[in-house]
């Protein structure tokens, strides 16, 4: 019996090594779908998109300044409406 067994050659061509398996096919599929070459970025349309593209993507500190200016303007408008317009050169006093 052992003599017949010794005659059979080792099964070298196992599935998975030669790329015939499903797993490797999926792996190849995944890699083939990955984008190649340098990243091409285009600013998205709209004001908000352009703003985000310009400041958020580069993580510049400008939005902090914009928020400060925006909050200050809102605050000034409110203050102006409520009391600052009554303080013009002591007109109303």
């Amino acid at each position: 019996m052992s003599s017949t067994k010794s005659l059979i050659p080792p099964k070298l061509s196992v599935a998975g090594v030669t790329g015939s398996s499903l797993r490797f096919a999926r792996l190849g599929d995944f890699y083939s779908k990955l984008p190649k070459g340098p990243l091409i970025e285009t600013p998205p349309p709209g004001f908000l998109g352009r703003y985000c593209y310009k400041y958020f993507r580069t993580s510049s500190p400008a939005p902090i300044l914009h928020i400060i200016i925006g909050v200050g303007l809102i605050g000034y408008t409110i203050n102006y409406q409520f009391h600052l317009k009554y303080h013009k050169s002591q007109k109303y006093h």
Partner: protein, 257 residues
């Protein structure tokens, strides 16, 4: 004579005004108003929200500067919570503490912008925060320990004769936590803003008196700049202190000393 009339009250900046209100007989004369504090709290919510959105950096692995700054805040608060409450069980309270911290911090910072409004200088806001925290901690203590929670008021190893007195003192101090926690924050912010306003009022009067006085007034202006720098520090420190104390109160309720 006119000069005195034009001086703004330093407390004027803290006035709450209705910006937009609904007073309708349809809904049982309900009065819904958007006040300026509401507006600035909404702005703070928007900023907090967008700060967090920016910190995600479009789900990239590499952090940008926004994410790094928020991660630093995160790490700071996390270490505070972990050190104050408990290394393992304390983590449950981290989201609350972080939300508290970022809320107070952003509101403090918005309050620093000129012409804007300091929401955290209002006792109604800070007291509602502090009462909620302390009351929540008390509920937590009762839930964890039942009636044993009252042992919090008896210091360990005190002579029996002193117990009634000590319990009274401890109880008052426990009640005072409510007030002190909110008072600390609001008083700091309020005092800072008032100081800056009073200083600027004086300096403005000096500087508007003449050319020489204008130059002379640059010195107090430098002081104002320095004080506003101090305010920036206070904005951070007070929000951190609030979180640290909230953590220690929760820890007290959890562990009873």
């Amino acid at each position: 004579m006119f000069k005195y009339l034009t001086i703004l009250s330093p407390l004027d900046q803290f006035e709450i005004r209705n910006l937009f209100s609904i007073d309708t007989p349809l809904l049982a004369n309900i009065n819904l108003s958007v006040t300026n504090i509401g507006l600035y709290l909404s702005i703070a919510a928007f900023i907090t929200f967008y700060f967090s959105i920016l910190a995600t950096n479009h789900s990239k692995i590499t952090p940008n500067k926004w994410s790094l700054s928020q991660e630093t805040l995160y790490a700071t608060i996390h270490s505070i919570v972990v050190n104050q409450i408990n290394n393992k069980n304390g983590q449950v309270y981290f989201p609350f503490m972080y939300a508290l911290f970022i809320f107070i911090l952003i509101n403090n910072l918005i309050g620093m912008v000129p012409y804007s409004f300091a929401s955290t200088s209002h006792f109604i806001l800070t007291f509602s925060l502090s009462f909620t925290v302390v009351l929540g901690a008390t509920v937590l203590g009762f839930k964890e320990h039942g009636l044993k929670f009252f042992s919090l008021f008896v210091p360990a190893g005190c002579p029996l004769g002193l117990v009634p007195l000590l319990v009274l003192i401890e109880f008052i101090s426990y009640l005072a936590r409510n007030v002190s926690l909110g008072l600390r924050l609001a008083a700091n912010i309020l005092a800072g803003h008032m100081l800056l306003n009073i200083l600027s009022g004086f300096t403005y009067n000096i500087m508007s008196s003449g050319i020489i006085f204008f130059v002379l007034g640059l010195l107090p202006l430098a002081f104002i700049i320095a004080f506003s720098g101090l305010e920036l520090g206070i904005a951070f420190i007070q929000s951190q202190v609030f979180v640290v104390l909230s953590c220690s109160y929760i820890k007290d309720a959890l562990e009873l000393h």
